[in-house]
Protein backbone atom coordinates (compact mmCIF):
# COMPACT_ATOMS: atom_id res chain seq x y z
CA UNK A 1 0.00 0.00 0.00
CA UNK A 2 2.76 2.40 0.92
CA UNK A 3 4.52 1.58 -2.32
CA UNK A 4 1.42 2.78 -4.17
CA UNK A 5 1.08 6.02 -2.23
CA UNK A 6 4.55 7.40 -1.48
CA UNK A 7 6.77 7.61 -4.52
CA UNK A 8 10.04 9.40 -3.87
CA UNK A 9 12.49 8.37 -6.57
CA UNK A 10 12.03 9.15 -10.25
CA UNK A 11 11.98 5.49 -11.22
CA UNK A 12 9.33 4.77 -8.60
CA UNK A 13 7.14 7.64 -9.83
CA UNK A 14 7.42 6.55 -13.44
CA UNK A 15 6.63 2.96 -12.48
CA UNK A 16 3.56 4.20 -10.63
CA UNK A 17 2.46 6.16 -13.68
CA UNK A 18 2.83 3.17 -15.98
CA UNK A 19 0.96 1.04 -13.47
CA UNK A 20 -1.90 3.54 -13.30
CA UNK A 21 -2.24 3.67 -17.07
CA UNK A 22 -2.01 -0.11 -17.40
CA UNK A 23 -4.58 -0.61 -14.64
CA UNK A 24 -6.94 1.83 -16.31
CA UNK A 25 -6.49 0.17 -19.69
CA UNK A 26 -7.09 -3.25 -18.14
CA UNK A 27 -10.30 -2.22 -16.37
CA UNK A 28 -11.72 -0.39 -19.37
CA UNK A 29 -10.65 -3.16 -21.73
CA UNK A 30 -12.36 -5.71 -19.49
CA UNK A 31 -15.60 -3.72 -19.41
CA UNK A 32 -15.61 -3.23 -23.17
CA UNK A 33 -14.80 -6.87 -23.85
CA UNK A 34 -17.70 -7.91 -21.64
CA UNK A 35 -20.26 -5.75 -23.43
CA UNK A 36 -19.09 -6.39 -27.00
CA UNK A 37 -21.41 -9.28 -27.76
CA UNK A 38 -24.11 -7.49 -29.78
CA UNK A 39 -26.72 -10.25 -29.69
CA UNK A 40 -26.44 -11.70 -26.23
CA UNK A 41 -25.97 -8.63 -24.04
CA UNK A 42 -29.04 -6.49 -23.27
CA UNK A 43 -28.88 -2.87 -24.32
CA UNK A 44 -28.79 -1.39 -20.82
CA UNK A 45 -25.66 -3.38 -19.96
CA UNK A 46 -23.92 -1.94 -23.01
CA UNK A 47 -24.97 1.59 -22.04
CA UNK A 48 -23.74 0.96 -18.51
CA UNK A 49 -20.41 -0.27 -19.84
CA UNK A 50 -19.85 2.86 -21.91
CA UNK A 51 -21.39 5.43 -19.57
CA UNK A 52 -20.95 3.89 -16.14
CA UNK A 53 -17.32 4.81 -15.38
CA UNK A 54 -17.51 8.45 -16.58
CA UNK A 55 -20.84 9.05 -14.86
CA UNK A 56 -19.55 7.53 -11.63
CA UNK A 57 -16.57 9.91 -11.71
CA UNK A 58 -18.82 12.89 -12.46
CA UNK A 59 -21.08 12.15 -9.51
CA UNK A 60 -18.15 11.47 -7.21
CA UNK A 61 -16.03 14.40 -8.37
CA UNK A 62 -18.53 17.14 -9.15
CA UNK A 63 -22.10 16.51 -7.99
CA UNK A 64 -21.43 15.13 -4.52
CA UNK A 65 -18.69 17.66 -3.59
CA UNK A 66 -20.74 20.59 -4.93
CA UNK A 67 -23.63 19.63 -2.66
CA UNK A 68 -21.18 19.20 0.21
CA UNK A 69 -19.79 22.69 -0.30
CA UNK A 70 -23.29 24.15 -0.50
CA UNK A 71 -24.09 22.58 2.86
CA UNK A 72 -20.75 23.73 4.32
CA UNK A 73 -21.48 27.29 3.30
CA UNK A 74 -24.33 27.36 5.84
CA UNK A 75 -22.13 25.99 8.64
CA UNK A 76 -19.61 27.69 10.90
CA UNK A 77 -15.89 27.69 10.22
CA UNK A 78 -15.09 24.27 11.65
CA UNK A 79 -18.27 22.77 10.23
CA UNK A 80 -19.72 21.84 13.65
CA UNK A 81 -23.05 23.72 13.51
CA UNK A 82 -25.39 25.48 11.14
CA UNK A 83 -25.28 29.27 11.15
CA UNK A 84 -27.80 30.10 8.43
CA UNK A 85 -26.67 32.76 6.00
CA UNK A 86 -24.06 34.26 8.33
CA UNK A 87 -21.18 33.42 5.98
CA UNK A 88 -22.88 35.11 3.06
CA UNK A 89 -23.69 38.10 5.26
CA UNK A 90 -20.00 38.28 6.19
CA UNK A 91 -18.96 38.32 2.53
CA UNK A 92 -21.18 41.33 1.90
CA UNK A 93 -20.37 43.27 5.07
CA UNK A 94 -16.72 42.67 5.99
CA UNK A 95 -14.77 45.62 4.58
CA UNK A 96 -11.86 43.49 3.34
CA UNK A 97 -14.19 41.07 1.61
CA UNK A 98 -16.05 43.99 0.04
CA UNK A 99 -12.74 45.02 -1.53
CA UNK A 100 -12.41 41.46 -2.83
CA UNK A 101 -15.87 41.73 -4.40
CA UNK A 102 -15.03 45.12 -5.91
CA UNK A 103 -11.81 43.73 -7.39
CA UNK A 104 -13.66 40.74 -8.84
CA UNK A 105 -16.13 43.09 -10.53
CA UNK A 106 -13.22 45.10 -11.96
CA UNK A 107 -11.60 41.92 -13.30
CA UNK A 108 -14.77 40.50 -14.82
CA UNK A 109 -15.68 43.78 -16.51
CA UNK A 110 -12.25 44.87 -17.69
CA UNK A 111 -10.57 41.65 -18.82
CA UNK A 112 -13.27 40.44 -21.26
CA UNK A 113 -13.93 43.93 -22.64
CA UNK A 114 -10.34 44.97 -23.18
CA UNK A 115 -9.05 41.57 -24.30
CA UNK A 116 -11.91 41.08 -26.75
CA UNK A 117 -11.73 44.61 -28.13
CA UNK A 118 -8.01 44.35 -28.58
CA UNK A 119 -8.28 40.86 -30.08
CA UNK A 120 -10.94 42.00 -32.52
CA UNK A 121 -9.12 45.14 -33.65
CA UNK A 122 -5.87 43.24 -33.94
CA UNK A 123 -7.44 40.38 -35.89
CA UNK A 124 -8.93 42.94 -38.29
CA UNK A 125 -5.70 44.89 -38.57
CA UNK A 126 -3.49 41.87 -39.13
CA UNK A 127 -5.87 40.18 -41.60
CA UNK A 128 -4.10 39.59 -44.94
CA UNK A 129 -1.01 41.59 -44.08
CA UNK A 130 2.55 40.53 -44.51
CA UNK A 131 3.85 38.48 -41.50
CA UNK A 132 0.23 37.75 -40.49
CA UNK A 133 1.04 34.27 -39.21
CA UNK A 134 4.11 35.31 -37.27
CA UNK A 135 2.38 38.29 -35.66
CA UNK A 136 -0.61 36.17 -34.66
CA UNK A 137 1.61 33.43 -33.27
CA UNK A 138 3.45 35.92 -31.06
CA UNK A 139 0.25 37.40 -29.64
CA UNK A 140 -1.24 33.92 -29.17
CA UNK A 141 1.80 32.52 -27.38
CA UNK A 142 0.89 33.66 -23.82
CA UNK A 143 -2.05 31.21 -23.98
CA UNK A 144 0.47 28.40 -23.50
CA UNK A 145 2.01 29.98 -20.41
CA UNK A 146 0.80 29.07 -16.94
CA UNK A 147 -0.58 31.79 -14.68
CA UNK A 148 2.40 31.20 -12.42
CA UNK A 149 4.98 31.85 -15.15
CA UNK A 150 2.96 34.78 -16.52
CA UNK A 151 2.83 36.24 -13.02
CA UNK A 152 6.61 36.00 -12.68
CA UNK A 153 7.19 37.47 -16.15
CA UNK A 154 5.11 40.52 -15.26
CA UNK A 155 6.39 40.84 -11.73
CA UNK A 156 9.77 41.32 -13.33
CA UNK A 157 8.38 43.95 -15.71
CA UNK A 158 6.98 45.80 -12.67
CA UNK A 159 10.12 45.32 -10.51
CA UNK A 160 10.94 48.44 -8.50
CA UNK A 161 14.26 49.93 -7.42
CA UNK A 162 14.43 53.20 -5.45
CA UNK A 163 15.17 56.32 -7.44
CA UNK A 164 18.88 56.73 -8.22
CA UNK A 165 19.62 53.02 -8.44
CA UNK A 166 19.62 51.48 -11.89
CA UNK A 167 16.23 49.97 -12.60
CA UNK A 168 15.96 46.29 -13.53
CA UNK A 169 12.21 46.32 -14.27
CA UNK A 170 11.40 47.48 -17.78
CA UNK A 171 8.37 49.60 -16.94
CA UNK A 172 10.17 51.61 -14.26
CA UNK A 173 13.13 52.07 -16.60
CA UNK A 174 10.73 53.49 -19.18
CA UNK A 175 9.39 55.88 -16.52
CA UNK A 176 12.94 56.95 -15.67
CA UNK A 177 13.77 57.46 -19.36
CA UNK A 178 10.68 59.66 -19.60
CA UNK A 179 11.92 61.64 -16.60
CA UNK A 180 9.35 60.34 -14.10
CA UNK A 181 9.90 58.74 -10.70
CA UNK A 182 9.91 54.93 -10.47
CA UNK A 183 6.78 53.49 -8.85
CA UNK A 184 5.79 50.52 -6.72
CA UNK A 185 3.35 49.14 -9.25
CA UNK A 186 2.20 46.16 -7.22
CA UNK A 187 2.09 47.68 -3.74
CA UNK A 188 -0.04 50.80 -4.05
CA UNK A 189 -3.78 50.18 -3.88
CA UNK A 190 -6.08 50.58 -5.67
CA UNK A 191 -4.18 50.97 -8.95
CA UNK A 192 -2.14 47.77 -8.33
CA UNK A 193 -5.23 45.71 -9.21
CA UNK A 194 -5.18 47.22 -12.71
CA UNK A 195 -1.55 46.21 -13.20
CA UNK A 196 -2.41 42.61 -12.31
CA UNK A 197 -5.50 42.70 -14.52
CA UNK A 198 -3.15 43.67 -17.39
CA UNK A 199 -1.52 40.23 -17.10
CA UNK A 200 -4.84 38.46 -17.62
CA UNK A 201 -5.57 40.70 -20.61
CA UNK A 202 -2.12 39.88 -22.00
CA UNK A 203 -2.97 36.17 -21.84
CA UNK A 204 -6.54 36.31 -23.14
CA UNK A 205 -6.13 38.79 -26.00
CA UNK A 206 -4.48 36.04 -28.04
CA UNK A 207 -7.42 33.72 -27.44
CA UNK A 208 -9.89 36.43 -28.50
CA UNK A 209 -7.80 37.26 -31.55
CA UNK A 210 -7.57 33.64 -32.71
CA UNK A 211 -11.29 32.92 -32.49
CA UNK A 212 -12.31 36.28 -33.96
CA UNK A 213 -9.72 36.07 -36.72
CA UNK A 214 -11.23 32.76 -37.82
CA UNK A 215 -14.70 34.26 -37.97
CA UNK A 216 -13.46 37.39 -39.78
CA UNK A 217 -11.95 35.11 -42.41
CA UNK A 218 -15.26 33.27 -42.64
CA UNK A 219 -17.13 36.42 -43.73
CA UNK A 220 -18.11 35.69 -47.36
CA UNK A 221 -16.17 37.70 -49.90
CA UNK A 222 -19.38 38.84 -51.64
CA UNK A 223 -20.50 40.60 -48.46
CA UNK A 224 -17.35 42.73 -48.20
CA UNK A 225 -17.36 43.14 -51.97
CA UNK A 226 -20.95 44.43 -51.98
CA UNK A 227 -20.18 46.84 -49.15
CA UNK A 228 -17.12 48.07 -51.01
CA UNK A 229 -19.19 48.71 -54.13
CA UNK A 230 -21.59 50.71 -51.96
CA UNK A 231 -18.66 52.93 -51.03
CA UNK A 232 -18.03 51.55 -47.53
CA UNK A 233 -14.38 51.50 -46.58
CA UNK A 234 -11.91 51.84 -43.72
CA UNK A 235 -13.59 52.28 -40.35
CA UNK A 236 -17.05 51.99 -41.86
CA UNK A 237 -16.20 48.54 -43.14
CA UNK A 238 -15.06 47.50 -39.66
CA UNK A 239 -18.07 49.05 -37.91
CA UNK A 240 -20.90 48.08 -40.29
CA UNK A 241 -19.67 44.88 -41.93
CA UNK A 242 -17.05 43.11 -39.81
CA UNK A 243 -18.47 43.62 -36.31
CA UNK A 244 -22.10 42.64 -37.11
CA UNK A 245 -20.88 39.59 -39.06
CA UNK A 246 -18.84 38.20 -36.18
CA UNK A 247 -21.37 39.03 -33.44
CA UNK A 248 -22.00 35.39 -32.39
CA UNK A 249 -18.26 34.76 -32.04
CA UNK A 250 -17.91 37.97 -30.05
CA UNK A 251 -20.49 36.74 -27.54
CA UNK A 252 -18.73 33.39 -27.18
CA UNK A 253 -15.35 35.06 -26.65
CA UNK A 254 -16.67 37.61 -24.16
CA UNK A 255 -18.42 35.00 -22.05
CA UNK A 256 -15.58 32.48 -22.20
CA UNK A 257 -13.04 35.08 -21.09
CA UNK A 258 -15.42 36.32 -18.39
CA UNK A 259 -15.76 32.83 -16.94
CA UNK A 260 -12.04 32.08 -16.94
CA UNK A 261 -11.46 35.51 -15.39
CA UNK A 262 -13.92 34.77 -12.58
CA UNK A 263 -12.05 31.59 -11.73
CA UNK A 264 -8.55 33.04 -12.09
CA UNK A 265 -6.43 32.30 -9.11
CA UNK A 266 -2.84 31.54 -10.06
CA UNK A 267 -1.93 35.04 -11.30
CA UNK A 268 -3.02 36.80 -8.12
CA UNK A 269 -1.61 34.02 -5.96
CA UNK A 270 1.81 34.30 -7.60
CA UNK A 271 2.08 38.08 -7.92
CA UNK A 272 0.81 39.34 -4.57
CA UNK A 273 -0.80 36.40 -2.80
CA UNK A 274 -3.86 38.62 -2.54
CA UNK A 275 -2.08 41.12 -0.31
CA UNK A 276 -2.19 44.90 -0.74
CA UNK A 277 -5.96 44.80 -1.48
CA UNK A 278 -5.52 42.82 -4.70
CA UNK A 279 -7.43 39.65 -3.81
CA UNK A 280 -10.31 38.30 -5.91
CA UNK A 281 -12.99 35.75 -4.98
CA UNK A 282 -11.13 32.72 -6.36
CA UNK A 283 -7.96 33.66 -4.47
CA UNK A 284 -9.83 34.63 -1.31
CA UNK A 285 -11.57 31.24 -1.40
CA UNK A 286 -8.17 29.55 -1.34
CA UNK A 287 -6.69 31.61 1.46
CA UNK A 288 -9.84 31.48 3.64
CA UNK A 289 -10.17 27.72 3.17
CA UNK A 290 -6.61 26.46 3.22
CA UNK A 291 -4.65 29.23 4.94
CA UNK A 292 -7.01 30.57 7.59
CA UNK A 293 -9.15 27.43 7.85
CA UNK A 294 -12.41 29.35 7.68
CA UNK A 295 -14.22 26.52 5.97
CA UNK A 296 -17.69 28.02 6.12
CA UNK A 297 -16.60 31.35 4.71
CA UNK A 298 -14.51 29.64 2.04
CA UNK A 299 -17.48 27.50 1.03
CA UNK A 300 -19.69 30.59 0.79
CA UNK A 301 -17.11 32.23 -1.50
CA UNK A 302 -17.00 29.12 -3.71
CA UNK A 303 -20.79 29.03 -3.95
CA UNK A 304 -20.76 32.74 -4.78
CA UNK A 305 -18.33 31.99 -7.60
CA UNK A 306 -20.71 29.34 -8.85
CA UNK A 307 -23.67 31.71 -8.69
CA UNK A 308 -21.75 34.34 -10.66
CA UNK A 309 -20.83 31.86 -13.42
CA UNK A 310 -24.42 30.69 -14.03
CA UNK A 311 -25.90 33.81 -15.68
CA UNK A 312 -22.88 34.18 -17.97
CA UNK A 313 -23.21 30.62 -19.22
CA UNK A 314 -27.00 30.92 -19.49
CA UNK A 315 -26.51 33.99 -21.68
CA UNK A 316 -23.93 32.14 -23.75
CA UNK A 317 -26.18 29.14 -24.34
CA UNK A 318 -29.12 31.42 -25.22
CA UNK A 319 -27.04 33.26 -27.79
CA UNK A 320 -25.81 29.97 -29.27
CA UNK A 321 -29.43 28.79 -29.58
CA UNK A 322 -30.44 32.06 -31.25
CA UNK A 323 -27.61 31.96 -33.77
CA UNK A 324 -28.41 28.32 -34.57
CA UNK A 325 -32.05 29.20 -35.19
CA UNK A 326 -31.02 31.92 -37.62
CA UNK A 327 -28.89 29.44 -39.51
Amino acid sequence: MDWLLDAETTAHKLALMVLAIALFALVMGGILFAVDKPKRVPQWVVVLGFLGPPLLLLVLGLVYPAIGTLVNSFKNNDGSEFVGVDNYAAVFSNSELLIVLRNTVLWVVLVPLVATTFGMVYAYLVDRTRFENLAKALVFLPMAISGVAAGIIWQFVYEYRPEGQSQIGLLNQVLVWLGAEPRQFLLNAPQNTFFIIAVMIWINAGFAMTVLSASIKAIPDDVTEAARLDGVSGFGMFRYVTVPSIRPALVVVLTTVAISTLKVFDIVYTMTGGQFSTSVIANEFYSQTFRQFNQGLGAALAVLLFILVVPIIAYNVRQLRLSEEIR
Partner: protein
Amino acid sequence: MTASDVSQEVVTQATGKIDAPVTESWRSRRRQRRAEAAAERLSKPAASTIAIVIAVLWSIPTLGLFVTSFRTVEDIQSSGWWTAITNPLFSQYNYQAALVDSGLASNFVNSFVITLPAVLIPITLALLAAYAFAWIPFRGRNTLFVAVFALQIVPIQVTLVPLLTLYVDAGVAGSFWTVWLSHSMFALPLAIFLLHNFMKDVPPSLVEAARMDGAGHVTIFFKVLFPLLVPAIAAFGVFQFLWVWNDLLVALTFASNDATPLTAAVADLAGTRGNAWYLLSAGAFITMVVPLVVFISLQRFFVRGLLAGSVKG
Protein backbone atom coordinates in the same frame (compact mmCIF):
# COMPACT_ATOMS: atom_id res chain seq x y z
CA MET B 1 -17.95 -5.12 -46.60
CA THR B 2 -15.86 -5.56 -43.49
CA ALA B 3 -15.55 -3.03 -40.73
CA SER B 4 -12.10 -1.94 -41.88
CA ASP B 5 -13.48 -1.31 -45.36
CA VAL B 6 -16.12 0.83 -43.77
CA SER B 7 -13.54 2.86 -41.92
CA GLN B 8 -11.58 3.20 -45.13
CA GLU B 9 -14.66 4.59 -46.80
CA VAL B 10 -15.29 6.90 -43.91
CA VAL B 11 -11.82 8.30 -44.26
CA THR B 12 -12.18 8.91 -47.96
CA GLN B 13 -15.59 10.42 -47.43
CA ALA B 14 -14.40 12.67 -44.67
CA THR B 15 -11.33 13.83 -46.52
CA GLY B 16 -13.40 14.02 -49.66
CA LYS B 17 -15.60 16.51 -47.89
CA ILE B 18 -12.62 18.77 -47.47
CA ASP B 19 -11.00 18.16 -50.84
CA ALA B 20 -14.16 18.02 -52.92
CA PRO B 21 -13.99 21.63 -54.13
CA VAL B 22 -10.53 21.04 -55.58
CA THR B 23 -11.68 21.38 -59.14
CA GLU B 24 -10.06 23.39 -61.88
CA SER B 25 -12.30 26.43 -61.49
CA TRP B 26 -11.75 26.47 -57.78
CA ARG B 27 -8.00 26.26 -58.26
CA SER B 28 -7.96 29.18 -60.62
CA ARG B 29 -10.20 31.16 -58.29
CA ARG B 30 -7.84 30.40 -55.49
CA ARG B 31 -4.89 31.50 -57.57
CA GLN B 32 -6.68 34.72 -58.39
CA ARG B 33 -7.59 35.31 -54.76
CA ARG B 34 -4.04 34.67 -53.73
CA ALA B 35 -2.82 37.26 -56.21
CA GLU B 36 -5.37 39.73 -54.87
CA ALA B 37 -4.29 39.00 -51.34
CA ALA B 38 -0.67 39.58 -52.28
CA ALA B 39 -1.58 42.90 -53.86
CA GLU B 40 -3.56 43.88 -50.77
CA ARG B 41 -0.67 42.86 -48.59
CA LEU B 42 1.61 45.26 -50.38
CA SER B 43 -1.01 48.00 -50.21
CA LYS B 44 -1.32 47.74 -46.43
CA PRO B 45 2.21 48.61 -45.25
CA ALA B 46 0.89 50.71 -42.37
CA ALA B 47 -1.28 47.91 -41.02
CA SER B 48 1.59 45.47 -41.41
CA THR B 49 3.93 47.70 -39.47
CA ILE B 50 1.50 48.37 -36.62
CA ALA B 51 0.66 44.67 -36.40
CA ILE B 52 4.26 43.58 -36.17
CA VAL B 53 5.15 46.34 -33.67
CA ILE B 54 2.31 45.23 -31.38
CA ALA B 55 3.36 41.60 -31.74
CA VAL B 56 6.92 42.53 -30.71
CA LEU B 57 5.66 44.59 -27.75
CA TRP B 58 3.54 41.59 -26.74
CA SER B 59 6.64 39.39 -26.64
CA ILE B 60 8.96 41.77 -24.80
CA PRO B 61 7.96 40.79 -21.25
CA THR B 62 8.66 37.11 -22.01
CA LEU B 63 11.86 37.95 -23.86
CA GLY B 64 13.05 40.05 -20.91
CA LEU B 65 12.69 37.22 -18.45
CA PHE B 66 14.23 34.80 -20.96
CA VAL B 67 17.35 36.94 -21.35
CA THR B 68 17.47 37.39 -17.59
CA SER B 69 17.40 33.65 -17.01
CA PHE B 70 20.82 33.38 -18.70
CA ARG B 71 22.49 36.39 -17.02
CA THR B 72 24.76 36.16 -14.02
CA VAL B 73 23.34 36.75 -10.55
CA GLU B 74 25.28 40.02 -10.11
CA ASP B 75 24.31 41.38 -13.54
CA ILE B 76 20.61 40.69 -12.92
CA GLN B 77 20.68 42.70 -9.69
CA SER B 78 22.77 45.61 -10.97
CA SER B 79 21.51 46.34 -14.49
CA GLY B 80 18.47 45.91 -16.72
CA TRP B 81 18.26 42.88 -19.02
CA TRP B 82 18.20 45.20 -22.05
CA THR B 83 21.81 46.19 -21.32
CA ALA B 84 22.82 42.59 -22.11
CA ILE B 85 22.86 43.61 -25.77
CA THR B 86 25.85 45.88 -25.23
CA ASN B 87 27.33 43.94 -22.35
CA PRO B 88 26.65 40.26 -22.96
CA LEU B 89 27.71 37.81 -20.28
CA PHE B 90 25.70 34.64 -20.17
CA SER B 91 25.79 31.45 -18.12
CA GLN B 92 23.56 28.45 -17.50
CA TYR B 93 24.20 28.67 -13.76
CA ASN B 94 20.64 29.83 -13.03
CA TYR B 95 19.16 26.73 -14.60
CA GLN B 96 21.55 24.52 -12.70
CA ALA B 97 20.66 26.29 -9.46
CA ALA B 98 16.93 26.00 -10.14
CA LEU B 99 16.97 22.38 -11.31
CA VAL B 100 19.46 20.93 -8.84
CA ASP B 101 19.74 23.18 -5.78
CA SER B 102 16.06 24.15 -5.66
CA GLY B 103 15.07 20.65 -6.74
CA LEU B 104 12.90 21.65 -9.69
CA ALA B 105 14.22 18.61 -11.59
CA SER B 106 12.13 16.31 -9.41
CA ASN B 107 9.14 18.64 -9.78
CA PHE B 108 9.61 18.36 -13.52
CA VAL B 109 9.31 14.59 -13.20
CA ASN B 110 6.18 15.08 -11.09
CA SER B 111 4.61 17.36 -13.70
CA PHE B 112 5.25 14.71 -16.33
CA VAL B 113 3.97 11.87 -14.16
CA ILE B 114 0.82 13.86 -13.32
CA THR B 115 0.10 15.04 -16.85
CA LEU B 116 0.27 11.85 -18.92
CA PRO B 117 -2.45 9.84 -17.10
CA ALA B 118 -4.45 13.03 -16.47
CA VAL B 119 -4.70 13.48 -20.24
CA LEU B 120 -5.14 9.83 -21.30
CA ILE B 121 -7.76 8.81 -18.75
CA PRO B 122 -10.35 11.58 -19.28
CA ILE B 123 -10.01 11.38 -23.07
CA THR B 124 -10.67 7.65 -23.04
CA LEU B 125 -13.61 7.92 -20.67
CA ALA B 126 -15.04 10.88 -22.56
CA LEU B 127 -14.74 9.06 -25.90
CA LEU B 128 -16.77 6.16 -24.54
CA ALA B 129 -19.39 8.44 -23.02
CA ALA B 130 -19.58 10.55 -26.18
CA TYR B 131 -20.04 7.39 -28.22
CA ALA B 132 -22.90 6.24 -26.02
CA PHE B 133 -24.58 9.65 -26.21
CA ALA B 134 -24.20 9.81 -29.98
CA TRP B 135 -24.79 6.27 -31.19
CA ILE B 136 -26.48 4.08 -28.57
CA PRO B 137 -30.19 4.91 -28.26
CA PHE B 138 -31.55 4.55 -24.73
CA ARG B 139 -34.25 6.13 -22.63
CA GLY B 140 -33.36 9.43 -21.00
CA ARG B 141 -30.33 9.93 -23.23
CA ASN B 142 -30.95 13.59 -24.00
CA THR B 143 -31.74 14.49 -20.41
CA LEU B 144 -28.57 12.80 -19.22
CA PHE B 145 -26.49 14.52 -21.90
CA VAL B 146 -27.84 17.94 -20.94
CA ALA B 147 -27.07 17.16 -17.30
CA VAL B 148 -23.45 16.29 -18.15
CA PHE B 149 -23.19 19.41 -20.32
CA ALA B 150 -24.56 21.51 -17.45
CA LEU B 151 -21.87 20.21 -15.09
CA GLN B 152 -19.40 22.42 -16.96
CA ILE B 153 -20.64 25.33 -14.91
CA VAL B 154 -19.41 23.85 -11.64
CA PRO B 155 -16.23 25.76 -10.73
CA ILE B 156 -13.45 23.53 -9.45
CA GLN B 157 -13.36 25.59 -6.26
CA VAL B 158 -16.80 24.32 -5.27
CA THR B 159 -15.58 20.71 -5.21
CA LEU B 160 -12.21 20.94 -3.48
CA VAL B 161 -12.92 20.63 0.24
CA PRO B 162 -15.43 17.73 0.16
CA LEU B 163 -13.21 15.92 -2.34
CA LEU B 164 -10.17 16.39 -0.13
CA THR B 165 -12.14 15.06 2.86
CA LEU B 166 -13.09 12.05 0.77
CA TYR B 167 -9.44 11.38 -0.11
CA VAL B 168 -8.32 11.77 3.49
CA ASP B 169 -11.01 9.34 4.66
CA ALA B 170 -9.91 6.84 2.02
CA GLY B 171 -6.30 7.20 3.18
CA VAL B 172 -4.97 8.19 -0.24
CA ALA B 173 -4.62 11.97 0.27
CA GLY B 174 -1.53 13.60 -1.21
CA SER B 175 -0.65 10.80 -3.60
CA PHE B 176 -0.49 10.97 -7.38
CA TRP B 177 -3.72 8.94 -7.52
CA THR B 178 -5.80 11.79 -6.14
CA VAL B 179 -4.28 14.28 -8.59
CA TRP B 180 -4.92 11.98 -11.56
CA LEU B 181 -8.45 11.27 -10.40
CA SER B 182 -9.29 14.93 -9.75
CA HIS B 183 -7.98 16.16 -13.09
CA SER B 184 -9.88 13.37 -14.87
CA MET B 185 -13.12 14.19 -13.12
CA PHE B 186 -12.85 17.93 -13.75
CA ALA B 187 -12.08 17.41 -17.44
CA LEU B 188 -14.99 15.10 -18.23
CA PRO B 189 -17.90 17.50 -18.86
CA LEU B 190 -16.04 19.58 -21.44
CA ALA B 191 -14.36 16.52 -22.99
CA ILE B 192 -17.65 14.64 -23.39
CA PHE B 193 -19.33 17.71 -24.85
CA LEU B 194 -16.56 18.47 -27.38
CA LEU B 195 -16.02 14.88 -28.50
CA HIS B 196 -19.77 14.33 -28.78
CA ASN B 197 -19.98 17.32 -31.11
CA PHE B 198 -17.35 15.80 -33.35
CA MET B 199 -18.77 12.30 -33.08
CA LYS B 200 -22.31 13.14 -34.10
CA ASP B 201 -21.02 14.75 -37.30
CA VAL B 202 -19.98 11.34 -38.61
CA PRO B 203 -22.52 10.25 -41.27
CA PRO B 204 -25.00 7.78 -39.67
CA SER B 205 -24.94 5.63 -42.79
CA LEU B 206 -21.40 4.49 -42.00
CA VAL B 207 -22.34 3.38 -38.51
CA GLU B 208 -25.47 1.71 -39.88
CA ALA B 209 -23.46 -0.12 -42.52
CA ALA B 210 -21.07 -1.49 -39.95
CA ARG B 211 -23.98 -2.51 -37.73
CA MET B 212 -25.55 -4.39 -40.66
CA ASP B 213 -22.32 -6.35 -40.95
CA GLY B 214 -22.83 -7.49 -37.38
CA ALA B 215 -20.23 -5.26 -35.78
CA GLY B 216 -20.81 -4.59 -32.08
CA HIS B 217 -20.50 -1.20 -30.46
CA VAL B 218 -16.88 -1.72 -29.49
CA THR B 219 -15.91 -2.73 -33.02
CA ILE B 220 -17.77 0.23 -34.49
CA PHE B 221 -16.13 2.53 -32.00
CA PHE B 222 -12.57 1.40 -32.69
CA LYS B 223 -12.75 0.56 -36.38
CA VAL B 224 -15.17 3.15 -37.73
CA LEU B 225 -15.25 6.17 -35.46
CA PHE B 226 -11.83 6.28 -33.83
CA PRO B 227 -9.82 6.87 -37.05
CA LEU B 228 -12.12 9.76 -37.93
CA LEU B 229 -11.81 11.35 -34.53
CA VAL B 230 -8.03 11.53 -34.34
CA PRO B 231 -7.95 15.31 -35.07
CA ALA B 232 -10.66 15.97 -32.48
CA ILE B 233 -8.83 13.85 -29.93
CA ALA B 234 -5.61 15.71 -30.67
CA ALA B 235 -7.45 19.01 -30.26
CA PHE B 236 -8.80 18.12 -26.86
CA GLY B 237 -5.54 16.40 -25.94
CA VAL B 238 -3.55 19.60 -26.42
CA PHE B 239 -6.19 21.51 -24.50
CA GLN B 240 -6.16 19.11 -21.56
CA PHE B 241 -2.37 18.84 -21.61
CA LEU B 242 -1.95 22.61 -21.26
CA TRP B 243 -4.66 22.70 -18.63
CA VAL B 244 -3.07 20.02 -16.45
CA TRP B 245 0.55 21.06 -16.92
CA ASN B 246 -0.25 24.71 -16.13
CA ASP B 247 -2.68 24.00 -13.31
CA LEU B 248 -1.91 25.40 -9.88
CA LEU B 249 -5.11 25.05 -7.86
CA VAL B 250 -5.55 21.27 -8.09
CA ALA B 251 -1.82 20.76 -7.46
CA LEU B 252 -1.78 22.97 -4.35
CA THR B 253 -4.87 21.30 -2.95
CA PHE B 254 -4.19 17.63 -3.59
CA ALA B 255 -0.48 16.99 -4.28
CA SER B 256 1.76 16.43 -1.26
CA ASN B 257 5.45 17.32 -1.17
CA ASP B 258 6.67 14.31 -3.10
CA ALA B 259 4.10 14.85 -5.84
CA THR B 260 4.31 18.66 -6.22
CA PRO B 261 4.42 19.69 -9.89
CA LEU B 262 6.46 22.54 -11.35
CA THR B 263 3.76 25.21 -11.14
CA ALA B 264 3.28 24.77 -7.41
CA ALA B 265 7.02 24.56 -6.76
CA VAL B 266 7.75 27.72 -8.75
CA ALA B 267 4.82 29.57 -7.16
CA ASP B 268 6.33 28.61 -3.82
CA LEU B 269 9.71 30.01 -4.92
CA ALA B 270 7.97 33.24 -5.95
CA GLY B 271 6.43 33.48 -2.50
CA THR B 272 9.54 32.65 -0.46
CA ARG B 273 12.37 33.99 -2.65
CA GLY B 274 10.59 36.88 -4.35
CA ASN B 275 13.82 38.75 -5.10
CA ALA B 276 15.91 35.83 -6.31
CA TRP B 277 15.35 36.66 -9.97
CA TYR B 278 18.08 34.29 -11.12
CA LEU B 279 16.00 31.41 -9.68
CA LEU B 280 12.57 32.73 -10.64
CA SER B 281 13.50 33.49 -14.25
CA ALA B 282 15.03 30.06 -14.80
CA GLY B 283 12.19 28.39 -12.88
CA ALA B 284 9.54 30.15 -14.97
CA PHE B 285 11.18 28.97 -18.17
CA ILE B 286 11.55 25.43 -16.91
CA THR B 287 7.75 25.35 -16.41
CA MET B 288 7.18 26.95 -19.81
CA VAL B 289 9.42 24.91 -22.09
CA VAL B 290 7.26 21.81 -22.51
CA PRO B 291 3.91 23.59 -23.01
CA LEU B 292 5.55 26.02 -25.45
CA VAL B 293 6.96 23.17 -27.55
CA VAL B 294 3.65 21.30 -27.52
CA PHE B 295 1.70 24.46 -28.21
CA ILE B 296 3.82 25.58 -31.13
CA SER B 297 4.00 22.18 -32.78
CA LEU B 298 0.31 21.33 -32.29
CA GLN B 299 -1.18 24.83 -32.53
CA ARG B 300 -3.39 23.84 -35.46
CA PHE B 301 -5.19 21.23 -33.35
CA PHE B 302 -5.46 23.55 -30.40
CA VAL B 303 -7.09 26.26 -32.50
CA ARG B 304 -9.55 23.72 -33.84
CA GLY B 305 -10.43 22.76 -30.28
CA LEU B 306 -10.95 26.40 -29.35
CA LEU B 307 -13.14 27.02 -32.37
CA ALA B 308 -15.29 24.02 -31.52
CA GLY B 309 -16.70 26.28 -28.83
CA SER B 310 -15.74 25.74 -25.24
CA VAL B 311 -16.94 27.25 -22.03
CA LYS B 312 -14.34 25.84 -19.68
CA GLY B 313 -12.17 28.37 -17.93
